[in-house]
């Protein structure tokens, strides 16, 4: 996944001549998703996040992620100024970053003395200057279309009016102040469309003014959807509600509820977007589909299911019997040829993701000490069997015993994940794994029936879940 490292990040600035832009960019990124703020909204506690991020957070625990104070999603308000800043910064970023990087390269190539000079002039400029100058110089460098600073200079030009003179606000003709009111009644531009007047001011401006653009397109903001009382709503009506909205309505009530919440998040955050970039419902439905595939009903929930308390262990064991049998035979083959270095004690990391298989492969090992033996991983020392390669080859009863044990282990539903156990014990095991066997699973420890040589894997009390509950 090399692409991971190509993602733009605020730290990109650190290796340029403008390291001070790192905190600036970080401030323009959402604290939750770490992306540039998209449709930023401000909470009642004055923190700003992406609309979708804060809505998801609030839907989860009703608190502001920054200060943990109680927060409600209907108190969120679009933060238009921040939205503007983020948008302009993103426009200016590539060029600015490119220049700052090139500058740095040039510096590292040129001699030390020159480098000093350069940093004095170029590096010093943006960092040391006041905030307004900084934005301005950056804007110019990156050909930003920042309308505000241009408007400033235009205003400056406009001030060059002789005293007592004024401009017609419609056609911009200069005239005496007292004439303006009379002129307004007969101004030739008076009847022209509003669009035309905007155009004329824009040709003069050459830069689009976001304020004007907004006024031009005054569609009312869509109303946000409100939450339902899921506790009071029965499954049927909820399903109907989802159908009315036009989103998938399959799944159980919990899934319906989660889907509706996510739909509210997506839909309402779209309401916080600038009109120009507001998405259509079709796009929103597509986004919900994405959610469905990653976190909703179609998400890969194999692991989660297994973690659940009501997980059907025996059913799972039955449906995967062939896989387990396969693993058992593999484990046996492995045991027949012990390789102490093969598995390290840190290996159980893998266990957490595949709990039943792990249990399966270990269950054939004796586990009579569940919950009773204080030192489960220090089995009684017994001599290695005469024929350690195939100790059970002709011992049908022993094989049957093991099979019974495996079946029993499957039935107990001991499919919970196990965590790496106390490795200090396993270290002991490793040392002695060569020359010890294990006690017979059914007999008393005193019988010391030789069974098989220990495999490389240390014996641990991994199976206690089955019998201690």
């Amino acid at each position: 996944m090399d692409t991971t490292f190509d993602l733009p990040d605020s730290t990109d600035w650190l290796s340029t001549t403008l390291p001070a832009f790192e905190p600036l960019e970080a401030a323009l990124r959402c604290e939750v998703c770490k992306e540039f703020l998209s449709n930023p909204v401000i909470t009642s506690c004055s923190h700003t996040f992406c609309s979708i991020c804060i809505r998801r957070c609030i839907a989860t625990d009703g608190r502001c992620p920054s200060c943990k104070s109680a927060c409600s999603s209907d108190k969120l308000t679009p933060n238009i100024a921040v939205r503007e800043v983020v948008m302009r910064f993103q426009e200016a970023r590539p060029k600015a970053l490119e220049m700052a990087r090139a500058e740095k390269e040039a510096q590292s190539r040129s001699g030390k003395k020159r480098k000093l000079d350069e940093t004095d002039i170029e590096d010093g400029e943006p960092v040391r200057q006041t905030r307004s100058r900084q934005t301005r110089s950056k804007g110019r460098h990156s050909q930003s279309t920042d309308p505000i600073e241009v408007a400033d200079s235009e205003d400056g030009d406009d001030e060059f009016l002789p005293e007592g003179m004024a401009k017609c606000p419609i056609c911009n003709t200069t005239m005496k102040e007292e004439q303006v009111f009379n002129h307004l009644d007969v101004c030739p531009e008076q009847n022209a469309s509003q669009g035309r007047s905007t155009r004329s001011s824009r040709t003069k401006n050459t830069f689009p003014n976001p304020l004007q653009r907004r006024q031009k397109d005054p569609s009312p903001p869509p109303t946000r959807l409100s939450q339902l009382n899921y506790a009071l709503l029965k499954e049927g009506p909820l399903r109907k509600k989802l159908q009315e909205i036009g989103i998938p309505n399959w799944g159980n009530k919990d899934l319906l509820k989660r889907r509706h919440i996510e739909w509210l998040n997506i839909y309402n955050s779209n309401c916080d977007a600038d009109e120009g970039v507001r998405k259509t419902k079709r796009q929103l439905v597509k986004e919900l589909e994405e959610w469905e595939n990653t976190q909703g009903g179609k998400a890969e929930t194999k692991e989660n299911k297994m973690m659940k308390k009501d997980f059907d262990g025996s059913g799972y064991a039955k449906s995967h019997k062939t896989e387990f049998d396969d693993l058992i035979s593999k484990a046996r083959a492995k045991r027949a040829t012990p390789k102490p270095e093969e598995t390290k004690p840190s290996q159980p990391e893998v266990d957490a993701t595949q709990p039943p298989k792990v249990n399966e492969s270990r269950d054939p090992e004796p586990t009579p000490h569940n919950g009773s033996d204080p030192y489960p991983s220090q089995p009684t020392q017994i001599p290695i069997a005469d024929n350690p390669r195939n100790p059970y080859e002709n011992n049908e009863s022993a094989l049957a015993t093991i099979r019974a044990k495996v079946a029993a282990a499957n039935q107990t539903g001991s499919t919970l994940a196990t965590l790496p156990s106390e490795p200090s014990l396993s270290e002991n095991d490793q040392v002695s794994s060569h020359d010890i066997g294990i006690a017979n699973p059914l007999g008393s420890p005193a019988r010391k029936v030789p069974m098989f040589a220990l495999p490389g894997q240390p014996v641990r009390d991994l199976d206690s879940s089955g019998s201690t509950h």
Partner: protein, 139 residues
């Protein structure tokens, strides 16, 4: 993110969005943790960052589990920050590492939590399913 990690925190492995490994060292001269490096394993769920990542210490030949009254010897960490209630989506890998680093730094007791033996032997739950009691506000 790898550009400027704080002292003593090294990103070891971040090949995917599921599991990351980070090495943490205690920088201050705390005698309990001198000359040792601890390895943290982060497991992210699909709901990250809304849900906390699962963070445990892992042990191998060169990385022990640090002694701390809130760290079990199987690497499970009892820290409200990593619990659903204490977690906040504004946290990230770096901030979690810094928190753990400071949690170690400020510790003076070279001991395991009460009932460590029992917990380590019988626990079959994943850290996120364990209901810790956060009784100690001193760390």
């Amino acid at each position: 993110m790898q550009g400027k990690l704080p002292d003593g925190i090294t990103l070891i492995q971040a090949d995917n969005y599921e599991t990351w490994l980070v090495d943490v060292k205690v920088i201050d001269p705390n005698p309990i943790y001198q000359n040792e490096t601890y390895r943290l394993k982060f497991t992210f769920s699909g709901q990250y960052p809304i849900e906390p990542p699962e963070v445990t210490f892992v042990r191998d030949a060169t990385h022990p589990i640090p002694y701390h009254p809130h760290i079990y010897s199987n690497g499970i960490i009892c820290l409200d920050l990593l619990d659903r209630q204490g977690w906040s989506p504004v946290h990230n890998v770096e901030s979690v590492c810094v928190s753990l680093q400071s949690m170690l730094t400020s510790n003076t007791k070279k001991e395991r939590p009460e009932g460590d033996d029992n917990f380590v032997r019988y626990n079959t739950q994943r850290p996120r399913d364990i209901n810790f009691m956060f009784h100690d506000d001193t760390v």
